[in-house]
Each structure stands twice: as C-alpha cells, then as structure tokens.
C-alpha cells in the first residue's frame, strides 16, 4: 500500500454546502462530493496541500496531521 502523507484534509460535514469548489481546485483529484451532500477526500490521494481549505467559501475544511 502506498504511504499516506502526514497531513490530510478534514471536512466538517455540518458546514459543507457541497458546492464542489474543493473538487475543482484539488490538484490530486482527491476531493469528491458524496451523495450530493458533503465533500470528502480520498485518503490515499490527499497530500494535505491545503488548496481546498484555502478556496472553500464555507471554511469547512481543515488540514490536520493524520492520527
């Protein structure tokens, strides 16, 4: 299995409006909109670059150290 990056994006599903901005800006094509309801990154693809968090209009994304 490929090694996961030390940091990753975490989406607050309560705040996310499923606009898809994060999907659009993610350079790794890691972000997805699940069931038209919230965004969620594919863990194996997310490198924790923070592009999505920077663009999210609802500030629903935080880049955190993987636990």
């Amino acid at each position: 299995m490929a090694k996961l990056s030390p940091r990753h994006a975490v989406v607050n599903r309560e705040i996310c409006v499923a606009c898809g901005t994060c999907v659009d800006v993610c350079p790794m094509e890691a972000m997805q909109i699940v069931q038209g309801s919230f965004a969620s990154p594919l863990e194996e693809k997310c490198v924790g670059c923070g592009m999505c968090a920077k663009e999210c209009p609802a500030s629903a994304i935080k880049v955190e150290v993987r636990s």
Binding site: I15, V17, A18, C19, G20, T21, V23, D24, V25, C26, P27, M28, E29, I33, Q35, G36, S37, C49, E55, C56, P57, A58, S59
Partner: protein
C-alpha cells in the same frame, strides 16, 4: 500543480450571454428557467449536485472573476452568513419571490393587473427597461420575463458583492438553489 481544465470551466460565458440577451430583448429572460430546472433534475433524478459542482454558469463566473481575474478580497465570511438559519431563511424568501413572479404574471394574464415593464434590482431599484420589450407579445409572458430577469439580476449583484468581499464562491454558501438541491440530496440518502 495545475488543475485540469474541462469544457464546463468555460460555462461562465453563459452568464454574460444571458444578461446581454435580456438587455436586448427581455423575452430571453425565460432562458433563466434552465438554471431553475437543471439543478433540480440533477438532484431529484440523480441525487447529486453535479450542476453546482460542474455546470453552473454562475459558480464558474464567480470562480473566474474571483480567482483567475483576482477580484476577490478573500475575507472570512461571518458565521451568521454560513449558518443554517440564514441559508434556509434566504432560500424560503427567494422562492417566495419566485412564486410571487408567477402570481403577478397570472394577475396580468387574467387582466386583473396591467403589465409593469420595469426591471427591479434588489427589490427596490427600478430600471426602465421598456426599450427591450417587443410589443405584440402576450402581456403575462412579458411580465414573467421582467420578473425573472429582475430576480436573476438581483441575485447576480448579491453574488458579485459576496465574491468581491469574501471568497470567490461565497454566494454558493447561501445560494437558494444550492441549499435546496443539497437538502433534496440529503433527504434522498437519509435512511
């Protein structure tokens, strides 16, 4: 690292075409119904927000103007603007306005009220638009066009102001259509 560009990234052009066409002839405002029907079809039939995620001309327009052209100040949005109360409240208000347009068009069609050929921005600023109205058209058809164009223009103005102050696609946080389609999708997948 650069994101892949797709054809739908150029849909912002439709926003410009739509408002220009309505300026030339108000009857083109009817095309705005596409922006009302498509997201609902995606949400109800497909259970997704693909319209918002890809094909919304306004979303693409705000992205281009805010990010690519760099017009956005990118301030943090206040919590109340992102909150559920404002989002759902604004959605109800917006759709009440939409149904009011249908009601007024019905009144005009029933000859209870006469045609008002003005475009109203932000529910108060009235712009005389009579040079765009081709006479000979059924009055209720024209009335609906004036109403819909007013609503589209009003929401575009709010969206642009939000884009300028906050992050580019801030309008999408409280966009009535976005809120409605997310609500539909959530309801569809709630077991």
């Amino acid at each position: 690292m650069k994101q892949k560009r797709h054809w739908y990234h150029y849909l912002w052009i439709w926003s410009i075409i739509y408002f220009s066409l309505g300026f030339v002839n108000i009857l083109f405002a009817w095309l705005g119904l596409i922006s009302f029907c498509l997201p609902l079809i995606f949400a109800i039939v497909g259970g997704n927000k693909l319209f918002c995620n890809r094909y919304c001309d306004r979303g693409q327009f705000l992205r281009v103007m805010g990010s690519q052209v760099g017009l956005s100040l990118r301030r943090e949005m206040p919590d109340w603007l992102k909150g559920k109360a404002f989002r759902y409240g604004f959605m109800i208000f917006f759709f009440a306005m939409f149904f009011n347009i249908i009601y007024v068009s019905w009144l005009v069609g029933s000859e209870i009220q006469s045609l008002q050929d003005v475009v109203t921005v932000l529910w108060s600023l009235q712009l005389p638009w009579n040079w765009t109205y081709s006479a000979g058209v059924t009055p209720w058809v024209a009335q609906f066009a004036f109403g819909l164009y007013s609503l589209m223009l009003t929401s575009e103005v709010i969206a642009i102001v939000a884009m300028l102050i906050y992050k580019p696609r801030s309008w999408c946080v409280f966009c009535p259509m976005g809120t409605l389609t997310q609500t539909i999708c959530k309801a569809k997948f709630k077991e």
